[in-house]
């Protein structure tokens, strides 16, 4: 898929709402497979509600930026920084959870391998982006 095509899809105001509902359907199916249909239905309802809210909300820059149809280079930078902050918060949470598990005499799973995945993804991303120039 070309970059322009990808950009056209993600900058549509329908992308995030449909993506939210899609994730909700996936959670519903996996919950159903795991015998927890109620959990899946709640997740689908919450994600559908979020999708509808984003779709029908006003024309604020934040909503339009999140939705994709109001995204410009400044919002892309905001998005990148917000993603980095989110990653940092997740890393800190994982490290703390892993340390608590270790201190309680547990193996540290699944936090240990999640940290490993995160570290590996970071290293691969740095290597790839450096190679790409």
């Amino acid at each position: 898929m070309t970059r322009n095509r990808r950009q056209a899809i993600t900058s549509s105001k329908w992308f995030l709402p449909l993506f939210s509902i899609g994730i909700g359907v996936v959670i519903l199916l996996t919950s159903w497979l795991g015998g927890q249909l109620a959990v899946g239905l709640i997740a689908l309802a919450v994600l559908t509600g979020f999708g509808l809210f984003v779709l029908l909300a006003g024309r604020s820059e934040t909503i339009r930026g999140l939705r994709g149809d109001g995204r410009d280079e400044r919002f892309a930078q905001i998005d990148l920084t917000a993603t980095a902050v989110t990653g940092l918060v997740l890393i800190v949470a994982l490290v703390v959870a892993w340390l608590v598990q270790i201190a309680q005499g547990h193996s540290g799973s699944p936090y240990g391998w999640l940290m490993a995945v995160g570290g590996l993804a970071y290293l691969l991303a740095v290597a790839f982006l450096r190679w790409r120039g």
Binding site: E61, D72, E73, R74, F75, Q77
Partner: protein
Amino acid sequence: MKNHVRRLRAERGLAQAQLADAMRVSRQTINSIENDRYTPSLPLALALARYFGVTVEEMFDDQES
């Protein structure tokens, strides 16, 4: 980075929204540039300079405090 976008826009009697539409960015982005809260990318800086018929150096000033 200091810039003269607000002055150039005002001289031409343009609203922020009109300039934003011409540059295909949000009005808030133009506002952030004018208030020195956001430094535009090189493509946007070039587009702004072309739009106003000035050089990038005439529009942006990295020396001014």
